[in-house]
Amino acid sequence: MVLLVLWGVSLARPGHAADIFPTKFTTTNGMTVLVLEQHFLPIVEIHALIKAGSAQDPPEKAGLANLVASLLDEGTTTRSSRQLAEQIDFVGGSLAVQADEDFTTASARTLKKDIDLGFTLLADILQRPAFPKQEFERVRSQILGEITSDNDDPGHVAMKAFNQLVFQNHPYRWPVNGTEDTLGKITLADVQNFYAKEYLPNQVILTIVGDVTVEQATALVQTHFGSWKKGVAQPRTIKKPTVIDKKIVQLIERDLTQSTIIIGHPGISRTNPDFYAVTVMNHVLGAGGFSSRLMDTIRDKQGLAYGITSHYDGRLMPGPFWINLQTRTETTNQAINGVLAEMKAIREAPVSDQELADAKAFLMGSFPLRLDSTAKLAQVLAQVEFFGLGFDYFSQYPKWIERVTKEDVLRVAKQYLDPQHYALVVVGNIAKAKVRH
């Protein structure tokens, strides 16, 4: 039996806030279900978020969660890998699985007329993956190849090195897809055990967005997921990254014309109460595209880079803060100094009234753009639920941004930015760049 606490979430509608009213219920086997009716187009997105990601990998077996996810659609007890692909392709739909640090998502997208097939295939890969030995070997060697291929991307090489410096002895240290070393240690039994422990209906948020009614969706959930057995969820520990108390520099030699530079340190979690103040501060610093300080000084005034952005990745545990750019070998030091100068400046003096007003106006005004397609809506709804933000998020977001003051921005800049203690990674022609750090 599915469910049965059914309640609509109704919200007030202040300016800029989005009109998002999902229906939420919990099934008897513990699955959280969110339904948002959208009848403009005859399409349906069915999106499952499983609360397990690479943060649950044993360090010596990094890449396990990703390997499990990659094998879900490579054969079930009722369908072969090829049959799954043929069935979803035949209706022009898509079936996609992706592991992240904190969670894994599996989603089906179909036309309304094929909604039953979408549910059937998604339910099949989530509840009955077979993990055939030959697919395990094939997919693992495929991922190993992708890891090698990723080394052709200097940005990827730099980020991988950066995470290892910032997250020592922390679950966010290794790439989601693992390393050459750790993938080789994963056995088929590891995959089966991880699946058995982590893939439980009570660890799943199932979000359905599109041309479907709550009644239809409820019945489909019951039919396809009703018999999934509830289990005991694994305990989770929240671990903070170790504070960096010096400059750590890693220079990686490559035959390239540009230096790829990453500077950063641990940042904040998604549920940190300062999240919104940090969002405003980061927008002014380097997340605000062509209106940010970093873009203005590094690109527009000095012509040192094509793109430069600052990021705070708010995860379940504090994620990284980083600034990344590429500049020609000769200007490596100039660019690094420019970035550090901006990190210092935003900690030393309050942002201007104009900067604050512009940043807040953008963040509030652009909120609906983040929800303008079915796929985006499903993702955002699932994450709002995962992080426990509450569905008043959609009405409250503009207020939370509006409340941020200049003093807040200065305070969080001092608290969450450190231009003295950080990790710096440079990938490029190191001999010629003569990095002075």
Partner: protein, 463 residues
């Protein structure tokens, strides 16, 4: 089908690395549902308005019929350089104010340049559309080209070139493929341009390009979103109709002569994995064969059940990724190309042969009815999914107009796709995917000068 991954470049990066983008983005199929309201202003500007009331947002796009195909030898990259300069201000809205105004109104603005077009866009709340229109109307004629701004922006574009081509092995191979497949036609050179041409460019070149191509009669305005066409049209007329009609630039180019024999080249550079590309010169939208070519592309490369994936990735395991792309919406006949990232340890020759085997198979026997139906279903479903994003929806129409196909052809496309037979697919495979018509490029990775796996030093920085 917009097939933009390799040839469209943006003012700033929106997509992840080249190949990732290609795999995720995938081939975009032509589709269109809500009928656009079409108008032509008194100065010749085409306007397409689509009412999509599902969310309180809209996209505004201005498409100019100018891209790298409108450049001359020695000035490759001029259109893209001008695109960057279009953000440097006018008398009314000085440097920096364009993006600032859009941003503080909750919008996002950017631009992109391709072989056939340059487009500017603003995604924003539907009630701010008028603002975007005013800014776009202003810079259609009022751009101020400043020498110092140009010097700095040229450095930015050079960084962009380093990022996309110089330091990206696959990007470098794509560039070389087009240079080999097209000898006299401007598809020969990359949209971003060559270093020497960027260096040789002058402010006068930019001014001439702007004066020639940036006029209402060479532009298409597309707005898709929560708008009302009849209330928006008067605003559009008020803002754009005062702009005088400009010159009628020559848009017809001499066709690239027929290819007589295979062309093959190698690119040797530091890299991790080999990359293979195989391009065939094919017709564009104006040919009836374009529908069968589109189905052919789908059968070969859409989804994990496609022939190329099943053969190279699944069965033979010699490729990490493989695909085929056909860009039907181009001003001039372009390329139908195959690409494959070779699995480390597998042989490049094996991958090339495996692709060739799939081509020959389709030349020797028509696809099954099931495969044909799947391909058609994929095209039809994509037609609906396409409309989930106002941006993509508008982009498709803007591109169709800019390359001369016209948005109506998009609607007809699905009907024509339904009529394609298995024999048609076999016929176009034979006619166009021939050995004499192909250009093959192979990236051969060179080992780094010093052993790559020596751990790089981690040290404490100087205080």
């Amino acid at each position: 089908m917009i097939n933009s991954t390799f040839v469209i470049i943006m003012r700033t990066i929106h997509f992840p690395a080249l190949l990732t983008a290609l795999l995720i983005f995938g081939p975009i199929s032509i589709s269109l549902g809500a009928e656009p309201n079409e108008y032509t202003l008194s100065n010749g500007m085409k306007v397409l308005l689509v009412e999509v009331p599902k969310a309180p947002v809209a996209t505004v796009q201005v498409w100019y019929k100018v891209g790298s195909r409108n450049e001359v030898m020695g000035r490759a990259g001029l259109s893209h350089m001008l695109e960057h300069m279009m953000f440097k201000g006018t008398a009314r809205y000085p440097k920096g104010s364009f993006s600032r105004i859009i941003r503080k109104n909750g919008g996002i603005d950017n631009a992109f340049t391709g072989q056939d077009f340059t487009a500017y866009f603003e995604n924003l709340a539907a009630d701010r559309v008028g603002l975007a229109l005013e800014l776009e109307a202003d810079r259609m004629q009022g751009l101020i080209l400043d020498h110092n701004e140009f010097q700095t922006e040229r450095d930015v574009v050079k960084e962009e070139r380093r990022l996309r081509s110089e330091d990206d092995p696959q990007g470098a191979l794509v560039e070389a493929l087009f240079a080999h497949a097209f000898l006299s036609h401007p598809y020969h050179w990359p949209v971003i341009g060559w270093f020497a041409d960027l260096e040789a460019m002058s402010l006068e070149d930019l001014q001439r390009h702007y004066d020639t191509f940036y006029s209402p009669n060479n532009a298409t305005l597309v707005v898709v979103g929560d708008i009302k066409a009849e209330t928006l049209l008067p605003t559009i007329k008020r803002l754009f109709e005062p702009i005088p009609r400009g010159p009628s630039p020559k848009q017809t180019l001499s066709p690239e002569p027929e290819q007589r024999g295979e062309r093959r080249f190698f690119l040797k550079r530091e890299a991790q994995v080999p990359f293979v590309m195989m391009g065939f010169r094919v017709p564009n939208y104006s040919s009836d064969d374009s529908y069968a070519l589109d189905i052919l592309e789908s059968i070969l490369s859409h989804g994990k059940s496609s022939r190329l994936y099943q053969s190279l990735v699944y069965d033979q395991k010699n490729a990490l990724a493989v695909g085929a792309e056909y860009s039907v919406l181009q001003s001039d006949p372009g390329l139908f190309y195959f690409y494959s990232v070779v699995n480390p340890g597998a042989k490049v020759e094996g991958v090339e042969e495996a692709i060739q085997r799939e081509i020959v198979r389709l030349q020797n026997e028509p696809p099954s009815e099931l495969e044909l139906q799947r391909a058609k279903n994929q095209v039809e479903a994509a037609r609906v999914f396409e409309q989930d994003s106002n941006f993509r929806h508008a982009m498709l129409m803007g591109q169709a107009e800019s390359v001369g196909a016209g948005w109506r052809r998009i609607d007809q496309f699905v009907e024509r796709i339904r009529a394609v037979t298995a024999k048609d697919v076999q016929r176009v495979a034979k006619q166009y995917l021939s050995q004499d018509n192909r250009t093959i490029g192979i990236l051969i990775p060179l080992p780094p000068p010093s052993p790559d796996l020596v751990p790089t030093a981690v040290h404490e920085g100087k205080s």
